[in-house]
Symmetry: C2
Subunit: 417 residues, 2 copies
Amino acid sequence: MENAVLITIGDEILSGNTIDTNSNFIATELKNIGIKVSQIFTISDEIETIKNTLRTAFEIGDLVITTGGLGPTRDDKTKKALAEFFDDEIALDEATFIHLKNYMEKRGRGDILERNKEQAFVPTKSTVFQNQYGTAPCMMMKYNNKLSFSLPGVPYEVKPLIKDQIVPYLKETFSLQYINTRIVSVVGIPESVLADIIEDWELSLPQNLALSYLPVGTRVKLRLTASGHNESVLQQQLEQEIQKLFPLIGESIIATSEDKIEKILGELLNEKKLTLSIAESCTGGELAKMITSNSGSSKYFVGGIVPYATAKKVEILNVSQKTVDEFTVVSEQVAQEMAKGCQKLFGSHISLSTTGVAGPGKGEDGKDIGTVFYTIRINDNEQTFRLYMPHLERLDFMYFVSQKIIQDLIGLLINNQ
Amino acid sequence: MENAVLITIGDEILSGNTIDTNSNFIATELKNIGIKVSQIFTISDEIETIKNTLRTAFEIGDLVITTGGLGPTRDDKTKKALAEFFDDEIALDEATFIHLKNYMEKRGRGDILERNKEQAFVPTKSTVFQNQYGTAPCMMMKYNNKLSFSLPGVPYEVKPLIKDQIVPYLKETFSLQYINTRIVSVVGIPESVLADIIEDWELSLPQNLALSYLPVGTRVKLRLTASGHNESVLQQQLEQEIQKLFPLIGESIIATSEDKIEKILGELLNEKKLTLSIAESCTGGELAKMITSNSGSSKYFVGGIVPYATAKKVEILNVSQKTVDEFTVVSEQVAQEMAKGCQKLFGSHISLSTTGVAGPGKGEDGKDIGTVFYTIRINDNEQTFRLYMPHLERLDFMYFVSQKIIQDLIGLLINNQ
C-alpha cells in the first residue's frame, strides 16, 4: 500500500464553481501514514468516464479514493458506475438503512424520504463505512490486491470519514513505511538566489530525502521529505540536514518545523508572553481571521477592529482628522495612528494596522489600487512599511498583505530577541 | 475549440501542501468563452508522467493548459518534457530574454542571475506569451489542430496570463459557441426535498440546458447552463425556465443570478440603503472578510470588531459583566448585548454578532465545541439563533457560521420588504 490515486467526481469542480479542497485534505492525511498520492483525476459525472478512470487509477495505484457523485439527486452517477465496473449489483443494505433511519430520526426527519432511502442501496460486494455526518455511505471495494473507497463530496463529511475510519483501517490492515516531513521557512531571499546558495547542500542530500521549494508570498518554504522503515532514524536525518542549513542561511530562517505562519507567530508570542491586537482596513478581517485560525490564539490575541469607514478610524481609534485631511486615509501617517490607537483600545503589547486600496474600485482619495501601508508597533517602537501590488485580485491582495505582515512581525520578534 | 483539459504539475499539490486554485480560475474563465473543461489531471513533476499525460490530454481535448513546473529551481521539469513531447529543442529566445532583463531591471535586480536567464530558454517551436508578473514565460505549442499553453504555477501570474492574453487570443482565433450560466440560490429546503419538488420541472428542461445541484452550507445553488450559437436566445431561455421555478419554490429563492452570498447581500443593502456592522468572536474575522471581499462593500459596511478577549466585549461593546457571569460568554444573552453594543459603536442600521467555541480546544467556560450563538439586529428588532456543529474543523466552522449568518440576514431582509 504505497501509491494512492484520487478521483474527484463532479461537474461543479470542472466548471469552476467549486474549489476542490477534499484532495488536499486526503493527500495530507495519507502522507502521514506513508501513502503517497501519485495522481489526482478530476472528472465529470458520467458513467463511462468514471469507469475508464477507475481502470487507469488501478493501473497506477494500490489505493483509489473517489469523492463526489453520491448525493440523492439525479446528476450523481458514481454508484452506478461502481457497480458496473466491479460487475456487481446494487441492493438495499440493511445495516446502512438502519443507520440512515437513525440518522434522519435524530435530526427530526423520521419521515424518511424515498430519495434518501436510495442512499442505503450499495453494491453487494462493498463493505460499508457509515457516514456520521450525512446520508451517503462510504463504500469499500476490493480489486485484486488493491482497494477503493468511494466517498460523498461534501468536505465536512469527507474529513471525519477519512480521519476516523479510513486512515485507522489502512494503518491497521497494512504495515506501512514511515514518511516524515519538515518545513523550513525562509524569508528575505528570492527563490532563485536561495537555490544558488543551497545548491551544494541540496545535491548532497541522502537518497531517501526529497526537497521541494514552495514560494508563498515573499516567503519560500523548503519541504524536506524522508521515507524509510525507522521513524526515529528519519527524524534524526531531517534534523541533521536542517542544521547544515544554518551556516548558509540561518538569519533568514524563521521556522524549521511549523508550516503555517499563524502558528509560527503563535508559538513566538506565547514564548515571549506578548499580546497582540489588530486594526485593519484594506485587509478587511483577513488578518484577524488568519491569526484566529490558529487554535489557542485566544492566549495572545486580545482583539481586532475593522474600521472600514474613515469616520470610525477617527472616532474609535483616535486617528486625527487633520492627519487624514493632510495625508489622505491611505498614508504612512494614518497607519501609524491606527496602530497607536489600536494598542491603546485593546491594551496589548503589539498592534498591527493596515490601510490601503484593495481594488478593483479606486479608493475614496484616489490612491492607486494595490497600495497599502502597514504599521507594526511593539511596545513603544513602531515601523511602517509600504507595499504596491496592483496585479493582485481583491482576495489575493487581502491574503498576501496579511501573510506579509505576520511574516515581518515574526522577523522583528526573532531579530530583537 | 470546445473541450479543454487542464494539467496541474507539481508535487506540492499531490502532497497536500498547496490547494490548487488555478484550475478553478481557469475553468471559470474558459466557461465564459464557451470552452468546457472536461478533465483535470494533477500529476507529479516527472518528465515521463508529464509526457504521458500530455498524450492523453490531447486525445480528450482540443486545448490543453498546463500550470506549474516552470520555476528556476531544480525540481521543475515541465519545459524539458514539453520539448521531448513535441520533438523539439530548447534554445534562448531573444525577445523573452529582453523582456526578462527589463523585468528584472525594473525591480532593481539588473544583475540578472544565470538561473533566471534559464527562464528565457524555450522550445523553438513555441510562441511565447510574456509574463508581466513573474520570470517564467507562457509557451504556446501547436499539435495537429490542437493547442497547448504552458504556464507557471503561481496564481497571481496565472490569472493575468489567462485573462489578459490567452482568453483574448482564443476568442479572436476561434469562433466559439456561447455558454450562459445562471445560479438560483435556494435556502431552507434540504437538497433531497428540493429535488422532489422540482423533479417535473427538471425533466422538462430543453435539451441544451443542464442542471446541477451545489449545496453550500444550508443553501442549495441550482446551476443552469445553456449552450448555443445565439447568446440572447440563451438568456431568454434561462430566464423563462427560472421564472417557472417561482410558483414551486419562490419563497425560498434568495437570488437568481448572483452566486456569491456576500454580493447578494451587498446588492440588497445598497437597494434598501442600509448600513451594516459586525461584532464577531468565534468567527474571528472571517465574517468581516467575507463581507469586505465584495468590491464596493465600503458603501454599506461601516466596520467590524473582533473582541476576542471577554474583557474587551465588556469594555468596548458594553456587554455587562453580570450577563457574562450569569450566562457565560457563549450565550444568547451575550450575543444580544454584543449586537446592541456593536450597532451603537458603529452607528449602523444593522449589526451582527457571533459568540461560540470553534474548537478544537474547549472554550473558557467549558461550553461544548461547535456551539455558537449569533444575533441579527435590524434597527430595533433582533433575532438570536443557536447552531451546534461539533463535526466541523476550526476554519470550516468559521466559514460555515459566517455563510449561515449572511444567508439568514438576506432571508430576513427579503421577507420584511
